[in-house]
Symmetry: C2
């Protein structure tokens, strides 16, 4: 996290603020993912970010505020990934794209995904409001789209919610359980080729499973 130092050298107050906040958030994402909310310590986060603990508390008054920020970030990334539902009306294309993007996020943002998973496992003590507002609305609207596809006979008549859960579960598994997958891959992270194959396999099973393709 040489960010902070560079920003400090840069000089401008605004740049310092931006650099430090970024470094702290990146460090926090990592430490929360590795130790959970309770296990993460603000001094460990500060250490990873390369600043003194007191300085961290200057930018984020409490550990909880920092945590919320980290969670909101990954959540927003996921929300944006759903653009495919709006962009195109072909179920094959829309779902393929959605699954692919979700898989890619698991590859590029595994830590954020883990922090989210941790929070949900513990029954969302900090972000229940998000689940009941944004996530609920998001889900309802996508379910409606899928239901229309089914009504048009383009998909088998499955309950869209369980399909959605399956997509979430399967794609996020590659982030949340990435360590288990690596261990079963002889202690190597999946190579690009392996990951591409996983992505393809997942997509095919699901699309074939809902009768979108043969």
């Amino acid at each position: 996290m040489a960010w902070a130092r560079q920003a400090r050298r840069n000089g401008s107050k605004a740049a310092i603020r931006e650099g430090n906040e970024k470094a702290i958030l990146a460090a926090a994402e990592e430490v929360f993912a590795d130790y959970g909310f309770a296990g993460a310590t603000t001094s460990k986060i500060a250490e990873v970010a390369g600043i003194p603990k007191a300085n961290l508390h200057y930018y984020f008054p409490t550990k909880e505020a920092l945590y919320r920020q980290v969670i909101e970030n990954i959540f927003n990334i996921w929300l944006a990934a759903a653009a495919s539902f709006d962009d195109c009306d072909d179920p094959i294309e829309a779902l393929t794209q959605y699954i692919h993007i979700k898989m890619d996020i698991s590859r590029t943002h595994p830590k954020g995904s883990k922090v989210w998973a941790n929070e949900i496992i513990q029954r969302a003590p900090m972000i229940q409001d998000y689940l009941e507002t944004t996530l609920r609305e998001w889900t309802t609207s996508r379910v409606a789209v899928i239901e229309r596809w089914i009504a048009e006979g383009r998909l088998a008549p499955i309950d869209p919610r369980y399909l959605m859960y399956m997509i979430w579960a399967t794609t996020q598994h590659y982030a949340d359980f990435g360590h288990q997958i690596s261990t079963l891959n002889n202690d190597h992270d999946l190579s690009e080729a392996q990951f591409a194959k996983a992505k393809d396999t997942v997509t095919q099973i699901i699309l074939r499973g809902i009768g979108a393709i043969k």
Copy 2:
């Protein structure tokens, strides 16, 4: 947790031991699931178990020993669930049964599943040895079975590992992310009927997805 008290009334040393250990393990499973390893406190576990903290440490010398025991328990339950692979040689029947049993475990043992998930998310700091021995062997042997089915033309030629991950992810999602699912179900746990439908949907999508059924 009236167990301990009852056992104490019972009297017999052996019964006392059994009752207390059971109560402590049940309490630990719950508290570890709700707060993570670091967030769980031995005094909270003791409180839930209905005994003084010092007594808990009489049975389990360290928090870590208790945690390992909880994890081993859920892991053994999952291992037993794989009997379907040995019991029958029809892929449709074997996979259907495996998925169903895994779903049922998510329903009956959600806490254990959560503790496991937490541990893996944090890169298995306590049970890496398990992953590298038991889980690795288990997986290899099941992969071989599925590969045979594919070679016999009974399944589409997918990589068995990614199928396995998909089954794990999807079934365990109903435990680990149960809170999210409930929230999206208007704050109600899935009813028996809903859960049965989810089970069915999951099974159908996967079996159809791998070309086992039409």
